[in-house]
């Protein structure tokens, strides 16, 4: 079974530019999550999709961040325009059901550096 994949693995952009991160969850997993980890800090929740619907987007920092999951398969997270504080590792995770009884499978992350 293929795991969660993310693309790109690294991205270095200048302040003000746009970046789009992609996540492909495990096939059949309806739940998809985005997280961000700034070095030395917690893995911070950004949002949760159930299929193509946003279940919870309370962790999205501001309206510069836009997440989509068309067709309930892969998801994209766009940052436009990027700011220095957006730097960090962005993780995507998927699970078969909600988090109460089932583990989340994490992808390897996209390391975003905004200069």
């Amino acid at each position: 079974e293929a795991g969660v994949t993310q693309f790109p693995s690294h991205s270095v952009i200048e302040k003000g530019q746009t970046v789009t991160l992609r996540c492909d969850p495990i096939s059949g997993h309806d739940n998809l999550y985005w997280y961000r980890r700034v070095m030395g800090k917690e893995i911070k929740f950004l949002l949760h999709f159930v299929k193509e619907s946003k279940q919870d987007e309370s962790g999205m920092p501001n309206n510069r961040f836009l997440a989509e999951r068309t067709g309930g398969t892969y998801s994209t997270l766009k940052v436009q325009p990027a700011e220095l504080e957006d730097s960090g590792v962005y993780f995507c995770a998927s699970s078969k059901w909600d988090t109460a009884s089932y583990e989340q499978y994490f992808g390897p992350g996209t390391r975003l550096t905004v200069t």
Binding site: Y35, Q55, D56, S58, F91, T99, S101, E103, F106
Partner: protein, 111 residues
Amino acid sequence: QQPVQSPQAVILREGEDAVINCSSSKALYSVHWYRQKHGEAPVFLMILLKGGEQKGHEKISASFNEKKQQSSLYLTASQLSYSGTYFCGTEGSGGYQKVTFGIGTKLQVIP
């Protein structure tokens, strides 16, 4: 509100034991434990549910004290492969809620 983990870092020799603690200020439904090796994806270790159900694998065990809103992860007879950052994630009670992760505990096992 994120859970508090302790210690923040620990160094062990192979074969030694370690305990990592996770506490929350709110009532919990479940506690999740993950381990992340440098540059890799966090990997699931265990889920502990309110009511005592426990799911996990490997030679790692954990406890969940619902009343104290605390969980502890027990690493017994540590191996070099145990090195990494351990995260606890907590889920509040009252239905589905997102998992909130702690800052992590960096564990290093040396020969």
